[in-house]
């Protein structure tokens, strides 16, 4: 990489400077040995290992993986993309929380104001909404790809079960967010969805009561699903994701080859 031995040119000078900067104490205290951002990095097998091993990355990835596992066509990155979408949704969601009050009619007014009063408000809302739809799609496709690879077979049985829970949680997250704009679409789509729960035998009424926080959908329902949406469900899904990723590694990495 940066060889810059000050051979006069401006590039050489810049290289020297950058190399010096990247070898400074502050910089090297941030990027651990083996990081490609550090001065004097060279592309050696040892450093390739350190990039992962000496890094927060090691929580997610081993140093090496089976060759077929990195073929894009094997996983299509669907699990990884689901996770990435979750991260995007968290970030955009936090932004939206700054401008949203889960009360009636304020909720609706706040969502309207995103389009007019908040810089990038509508854009971030769009990202949050389309991202949520996309995540449902990627999680579902991830599940089908796992099935067709037979990747749920021993020792991965339990990770499949964790996966099904993740699918359920993803659907619940998406559905709980659906009510929050508090418009006609939200109200009635949610009504259709939540009345299904009320058909449960014996407990039907209690289920319905718990779901909507009363006998009728009201502002209380909004608050309830807001808390579920921004706090409870994300918390639970992060727990299950942690187990999921941990098990992917402990079960020997991505399965296969076929």
């Amino acid at each position: 990489m940066a060889e810059g031995n000050g051979n006069g040119g401006i590039t050489g000078l810049l290289n020297d400077l950058s190399e010096q900067f990247r070898s400074s104490q502050v910089w090297t205290s941030i990027f651990r040995p083996g990081s490609p951002f550090r001065g004097g990095y060279s592309d050696t097998p040892r450093n390739r290992s350190y990039v992962v091993m000496n890094n927060v990355m090691y929580h997610l990835h081993p140093v090496k993986v089976k060759r077929h596992g990195v073929r894009l066509s094997y996983t299509l990155c669907l699990g990884g993309l689901s996770f990435f979408l979750f991260v995007v949704l968290t970030i955009t969601g936090i932004f939206l929380m700054f401008y949203y009050r889960p009360t009636s009619p304020q909720a609706y007014i706040d969502i309207q104001a995103l389009a007019t009063d908040v810089a990038f408000g509508q854009f971030v809302r769009n990202m949050h909404r389309w991202g949520a739809h996309l995540m449902v799609l990627t999680v579902f496709l991830h599940m089908t790809r796992v099935f067709y690879h037979g990747a749920y077979k021993p020792p991965r049985e339990f990770n499949w079960v964790v996966g099904v829970i993740l699918l359920l949680l993803t659907l619940l997250l998406s559905f709980s967010g659906y009510l929050l704009p508090w418009d006609q679409l939200a109200l009635w789509a949610f009504t259709v969805g939540s009345t299904m729960g009320s058909y449960a035998p014996v407990f039907g009424d209690s289920v319905s009561f718990a779901l909507i926080g009363g006998v009728q959908i009201s502002a209380d329902t909004l608050l309830r699903w807001y808390v579920l949406h921004v706090l409870f469900l994300p918390f639970i899904i992060v727990l299950f994701m942690s187990v999921h990723f941990w098990r992917v590694r402990k079960d020997g990495g991505v399965s296969g080859p076929l």
């Binding site: 140093v63 979408l85 099935f147 049985e157 679409l185 109200l187 299904m196 959908i217």
Partner: protein, 308 residues
Amino acid sequence: MADIPEDILRRSAEARAKAEGRPVEEVLAEMTGEAPAASSPAEPAPAETEPAPAPAPPETAPAAPPVASGNGGIDVAALSVETGVPEAILLRATRARAKHDGLPDPTIATPAGGGTAVATAPPPTTTAPAPAPAVPEGVRTQRLLTVVKAGAIQQVKREPTDKVSVWPHLLAIEFVALLVILVVLTAVSIFVDAPLLEFANFNEQPNPSKAPWYFLGLQELLAYFDPMVAGVFIPTFGLIALMFIPYVDRNPSIRPSDRKLAIMIFTFFIVAAAILTIFGSFFRGPGFNFVFPWRDGIFFDDLLTILD
């Protein structure tokens, strides 16, 4: 070197040959050991392999029975020097063995070499000719409980497999995938607004009112079955069945040709779910009655802002 499968060796040799601009055969010969490797071996990375097994510990006392010399007792101190096992442990082991075999304590004859080691042994109840020197205040003594040979708990030798470094190979792909999805999402978000209808009105139900698209398959089922079946039993049973797949499908093979039945059943359900969802999304109009989207229009709120 461990016996590495032919194809892996070959691939590795080709990559190296390409990088160094040398003929493949020469590199291959070098790697298979016909010529001493000039450069470093293929990937001498400090990979995530198990740490090298500790050298096998010396045979410990319990494994090698001390030769009980009839009446004379055992010279634990000498044995300790010989085997390298701390005296206190030898002492304890020998006593325990004698007790187990119902023999008198064979160590009695031995002057319990008043080494510090004895200090770690519990004071022997029966004999204890030499009171252990007190352990100085604040010094912790350690007991060696047992020595387990490395081979018994670790898999020392790993099957060589064809592996690549996560950096840069996997991380680069992931990064590109991440950028692609981010670009797609950003583009969609710039051009298509999320829908927002009028303020929620409890007295005016839009017609049709549909669930979010991922539940439209279920809503479609409501048109055919009793709500308790379509709304409760089918989804609950579906989720449970999904969770039980790995425990029901006992076929160990992952080759598609061995799994025809499993693939058929799963595909059937996926296609059925897809058809129901598409049907509920596009072929249902006011009153959730059947419509042709091309003739009567599309009643699909999730895509409202695209359709307008």
